[in-house]
Symmetry: C2
Subunit: 337 residues, 2 copies
């Protein structure tokens, strides 16, 4: 019997339909082998001239382990003036911002799931640094950090990398989450994500894994099969303020989650997206409750089901795997250390 | 140079990025031939026993031209009791409703673009009849009518068909559109869609085609390349109240649009979605301005670009084709009568 579940944070309905339920091995659609990159991969040691001039590298020099470069086909442009124009019903802004690629390792075939926690934490420190830096640009309102793994997830290069898109507008998903988090805070003086964590840790059935700092869970009204959220246990509204020690806990939890997803779903393509507070972070009006109300986290979406136009067009998803079942599979799969 | 456009009705931003602009023939990804359906197609004359017991057929009997059957894997269920449950932060409803398939013709290979306007109008009268009928069920709040063409659009059978999903909740996209339409009406005492049409017909650059009753246009902040809206010129909030003569105009306009899309984009997969007012339509509170504020229409989304998790995850789209360019291609392509 199907049911409709309401997400208290995203405030939208998902249809959880089990009539057509699949087992994980049925999801494990064999992925086409990644095409050999045409020519040399631009993200390896020695091919640095193939990218636009770099923004930063860590460490500096030819022996870099993490490197930040502009996206070759930027969706927004750093040099654009911030211009706004209205005409009749319509409004537009110039595409001002920054679109960057973070090369996570010089090794072409070293997926994040294969890195050590220290290596992943190094990537995360670079993410944090870019978010802090871009947050100082007064034209920027949000920095969207995401990682596409595999062609079906939109990755055009196989070499491990993540991206960030800094724009002068706040994306819809953050606005929606902020609106519910602020409303909840005004009503209860509590963070809705903290309350969600507390409730879910007691109920256990949607918990995928946890460590001292982080909890991974299947959200109650998951839009996609095996969608998983990774949240810090301690309240924090801004990923960019996370100290090194906590990034190391995050790296360990994310690595374990990626390995479990890979084991259960046969190395699926996926998107990993950071949800964090908008910038500028130092100019909050005293009445702004964002710092108390919002709670940064990552969302992982394995790309194992077709996103039908139906879902896009209708605004509600049909998910054929219950979150409890997905969590059970991910919790119980054996993974190597 | 890219720009951000704000949609006044959906109230969200799209990034219109032209750095990676494609020409239509580059979009025309060769579609894999539809797999031969395993066994006989269940939607042809003579194979009626292969579907669940039919809901209706037109005309009645073995010579039907349009047939309505329950979806074999329903996302919601007609017999479910309407039950609601809350626990902590979570809320759920039983999956009550109806999930139906409208077989549009007994001819397996007769795509809607190949039908005559009269044949298409016959399908539309069946759509209207189902919407009226389901609108009488007090448990139903919205009837979502849509058509998936091609595997990439989610169609699991090649035989021309559409679907409807009647649920006890109103989908997000309708809520958003209703909210902006009502707010606009309260401010101006006008329908935002009527004003949009008036403005666009003067500006012309986003108009795809029009006839006495209907206008097809590329929306100002299209989420997808070649997304097209088809709107009645005369104000009307509820598709189910459309008279036969207007359905015939609609059929002619939709046919022409489908033929143009097929010619420009080499028979792409697509989704076609009806946006109409929620039900029940006869119990409006006097203060409810929906009838004045909302304007039903169809939205067509060719499935020619990957929907990256980025878009889903972020809530804003990156569209690499400007609406003006898409409209120009669709307007100027020669089609056979």
């Amino acid at each position: 019997m199907s049911e409709l579940r309401f997400d208290p944070i995203r405030r939208r309905w998902t249809i959880i339909a089990t009539e057509r339920r699949l087992r994980p091995h049925e999801f494990a659609v064999p992925r086409p082998a990644e095409e050999a990159d045409v020519g040399a991969c631009p993200f390896e040691h020695g091919s640095e001239p193939a990218t636009p001039p770099q923004i930063a590298s860590f460490p500096e020099g030819a022996d870099w382990q993490v490197r930040v470069v502009p996206n070759k086909y930027p969706a927004v442009n750093h040099d654009a003036p911030l211009a706004s124009e209205s005409s009749g019903l319509f409004r537009r802004l110039s595409g001002v911002g920054s679109h960057e690629v973070i090369v996570e390792t010089p090794q072409h075939a070293r997926a994040m799931a294969d890195m050590t926690p220290d290596e992943i934490a190094r990537v995360m420190r670079v993410w944090r640094g870019r978010l802090l830096d871009l947050g100082n640009d007064s034209r920027i309102r949000y920095v969207l950090l995401f990682k596409n793994h595999g062609r079906e997830a939109g990755a055009s290069l196989a070499h491990p990398h993540s991206q960030l898109l800094a724009t002068s507008v706040v994306p819809e998903f953050v606005k929606d989450e902020l609106a519910s988090a602020r409303a909840y805070y005004r009503r209860t003086k509590r963070c809705i994500f903290c309350d969600l964590l507390e409730q879910e840790l007691v109920r256990e059935e949607r918990i995928v894994l946890d460590n001292d700092g982080f909890v991974a869970l299947s959200p109650w009204a998951a839009l996609f099969p095996f969608e998983t959220w990774l949240l810090p246990r301690a309240h924090g509204y801004d990923f960019a303020l996370t100290p090194d020690s906590v990034l190391l806990q995050l790296a360990a939890a994310l690595r374990e989650l990626l390995r479990r997803v890979r084991a259960v779903l046969a190395d699926p393509a996926f998107n990993l997206i950071l949800h964090t507070a908008p910038v500028p972070r130092r100019s909050h009006h005293p009445s702004d409750v964002t710092a108390h109300a919002y709670h940064w986290h990552f969302e992982l979406i394995p790309r194992i089901s077709h996103i039908a136009g139906f879902e896009w067009g209708s605004g509600y998803a049909i998910n054929h795997t219950t979150p409890e079942e997905a969590a059970r599979y991910l919790r119980n799969v054996p993974t190597l250390p």
